[in-house]
Amino acid sequence: MEILILLALPLGGALLLALAGAHRLAPEANVGFSLATFAVAVLLTVRVIADGPRVCCSEQFFVDPFNVFLVTLTAFVNFTTALFSRRYMRIEEHHGRLGRARLRLYHGMYQLFMFTMLLALLTNNLGLLWVAMEAATLSTVLLVSLYRSAASLEAAWKYFILCGVGIALALFGTILLYFAAERVLGHAGTDALLWTRLDAVKDQLEPTVLAIAFVFLLVGYGTKVGLAPLHNWLPDAHAEGPTPVSAVLSGLLLNVALYAVIRCKVLVEGAIGPELPGRMLMFFGILSVLLAAFMLWRQKDIKRLFAYSSIEHMGIITFAFGMGGAVANFAALLHMTVHSLTKSAIFFAVGHATQKTGSQQMADIRGLLGLSPALGWGLMLGTLAILGMPPFGVFASEFLILTTAMREQPWATPLLLLALGVAFAAVFGRTQEMVLGEHTGRRLPVPPSLLPVFVHLALVLLLGLWIPPFLADWYRLAARMIG
């Protein structure tokens, strides 16, 4: 029941805000819907902690350890981003960058996007998963081009085409999966695409078909994850869209896409063994990490910088999933969580920083600490966290990933470390220049919303020092499930 409410809330919100999004109180409504969604997600989480995994609607939706924390996380970041965007969008409006009509579009699409992501996470049906992913793309395309500037249009166009093509390939993979499932499950109609059913018979699925299917699924969903060399849409879309959108893209959409990849990987591994999918994931992971690290070195735009950092971290997670095994999967799941929290916090800070200085060029952003200490500290600590500095949680997962890599894939360790080192130098050097030093900038018409930044960072800090037992249990169960 909670599952359905969880899905209905953002959908209803989307409809309402699509109609009344231009209203003065629309941002508050947006926050309200997000809060309600989050509350239901917490309720669901509590129920899952109490009663264990559950399914509903003739198995079309389900909650298991793998998606339960992602659902909560999504709802949470969704809520905090809504909080942030309330102030952010007000300021944008004041600065005359957006009109009321655009805000209506923005709010409607924001809730719709939440809906699609929750749908993608909760659905048991791989076909529906695909539909949700495609819908997520479509709903964000217009958000990316919200400013209607030349650059944002270009970014949205690339986003649309590249992800569209990618998603189309994923559909082909889904069809092949269905084709293989049909031969085992009989012509079962809808059921043949249910993940739980497929999981039960995964070792009987035809290996050749599944291998080909996995290639399509990986390339398809991998495009949305931002794996190199399929990542090219990502920095553009992050840089040109409004910052709350960058925050949810980086913090949530990439996670959801990776979630899709891993769901498929579990099935494929059952059929063809862990060797091939694992290697593919590791290859893409390492390639992404390396490429992103060197890309970071030359960035001039702050949002592009952190977009590449997202590619890097998705690479790390993908690599960890590729290695497989209880510890690596555990670490990957933890990393998904902390990356999502940290990266969205960074984007919140970045959003206000760009508003204060009126530029996304890092050369123009100076002395945030003098301008607004909280903002400066938010960006500084967020950056340090994302770079894997203890005591933040990113370090915990990176510690586990690196130590496992030393055991499982010693060849990859130097590459990973090289990338981490280069990324550190690139990102930290720039952040320092932005946060410290003499300041330039203006006062904002509405005080910036920095609470979400610090709430996120506090959570990340907590996860670095102590992981709550129930979360650790979920991670462990999910890790075992992923194999």
Binding site: V215, R298, F395, T403, F424
Partner: protein
Amino acid sequence: MAEPAVLLNAALVVVAGWLAVGAAGLLRPHATALIARLLFPLGALGSIVLTAVGLAALSAPPATRILPIGLPDLPLHLRLDPLAAFFLFLLGSASTGISVFGAGYFRAGAGTSPGLLCLQYHVFLATMAMVLLADDAYAFMVAWESMALASYFLVTTQHRIGAIRGAGFLYLLLAHVGAIAILLCFGVLQGGSWQFTFDAMRGADLDATRATLAFALALLGFGAKAGLVPLHVWLPEAHPAAPSPVSALMSGVMLKTAAYGLLRVTLDLLPFPLWHWGAALLALGLFSALFGVIFAAVQTDMKRLLAYSSIENLGIVFAGSGLALLFHAERMPLPAALALAATLYHCLNHAMFKSLLFLATGSVLHATGERNLGRLGGLIRRMPWVAWTALVGTLAIAGLPPLNGFVSEWLLLQALLLTPEVPRPFMNMLVPLGASLLALTAALAAYVMVKFYGVIFLGQMREPALADAHDCGRLERLGLLWLALACVLLGLLPAPVLGLLDGVSAELLGASLVHPQASSVWKLVPLSAERASYSPLVFLLGIVALLGASALVATRVYRRRVRRAPPWDCGFPHQDARMQDTAEGFGQPIRHIFAPFFRMHRELPSPLDAVPQYRVTVEDRFWSLLYLPLARLVTRAARLVGGIQQGRIAVYLLYSFLTLLVLLVIVL
């Protein structure tokens, strides 16, 4: 004697207390008086407690404790053993003085607010203590990196100055690179058990290759923190950038955590020692020491000079641990214990006199606003407290008897003299060369310190503004006195100190230097009385007696009249303060003799210049040979990688398409 577990808990309470004090500072970030009068003294109180805890735990059996935080499968393991206890003692005793000094020193300024500074400072202290207490890789790494972070923020207190930001960046970057190496080192050390507690590592089964790899990684990681050449470049940048109490803490204490880490890994965690590790460490350490002292001699910024001197001293520490390792590998427990004792003793000494000197530079900086040696001078007349305590530090760091710097050098030379007994044909030849390098370094250190002290405190004031300089406040004096007293006591009572260190060598090497029959409180006899002995107190008594006698003769027996006159002008009546020898001048012989070490740029005036100017800049060769090429390499790689993203959507589609095709070919 307290229970070991109680001691560990007491140490944890101090850590928690420091964190609380720091957090309290954040509550009223601009209440300078509150922070200075209450919080910093409270922190110093914690330091005293920690000193006591360290002292008590030096001879207590190890205590362990597991706290349920950290990773789910790796809760926080803590352990207080003699090695950790020794460094806790060092941390506590040095930071007592520094905190007391800091209470008078920190004030509201342009940079970080006092409250935040208080937080960062105490977090820095707490993380250092945690580094020493950690007993698993995760806890160690968290504490280690947090320590780097806290100190980074302290370094960039005056972040509006571009050079300071640059220094901070370089510092954190190298610290991070070092941390990565340490992490890798732990990854190798676990040796297939995949347990990351230190206990598991102690029992791990490593072959020689892996063990050597682990050693090399540890050397890289801890070397980066200790400023071992060529990883030293951050040190002369970061130390001057930080406020002086922080420089003192970083140089005096934080660098020692690197020594701690290295000793922990090589003598405790690694299953066996190999002689070539010791040789490598010795060579690197000695080179570092020489390099550091040579560069210190040509500096013109007083804090940079001290920073290079820290490179020198850490080089000596590393050389000492290398020697201990070498002896240990050759199954010579007594010499190993001697070398280890020398190493630890030097750590302790350096913590005291370097902190003292950094604090003194802080007072000078406050009083004059100058760091440039070329604009100082004659301050002994305006700042007697600072000057006289700094004199103690200067003589101590110059390795002069009967102060503490001499004791550790003496011990180390004694240990080096035992190397011909090493049953390995090459080592017993090369190590005397090491002794000569060490002797050269020690002698150069005296040169450097004479320059340091003479140019700052003695002579004429080079700038008229210096006449307004004021002496430091009461709390600052107390801090300086504490450290100066420590220098004197450590110099005069080496035998009891050595007795305390015995717990550490018993733990790590299974050997004891203390023979009840030969040693007394007054007399230091490390091996046998026939071999060598040193009794600084008797020695001091001798000097004082003879000195007093001569003074008595000179002043009582003969006339005691004194007349004041201007100094002799050599027939040139227009002498002024600018004509004194400068810091550059003091560097000249060194630049001349050790020319190959430097990259020099000289601007010589031509005969026709209306305003002739002479300028010489000295650069580190490692910048141009190592760091800049590395940066260029990465930039080139980045440009290459950037080339794949050139904006055309068709090309992007082509990437996807090719990826798809290639993967399909692979699965077929």
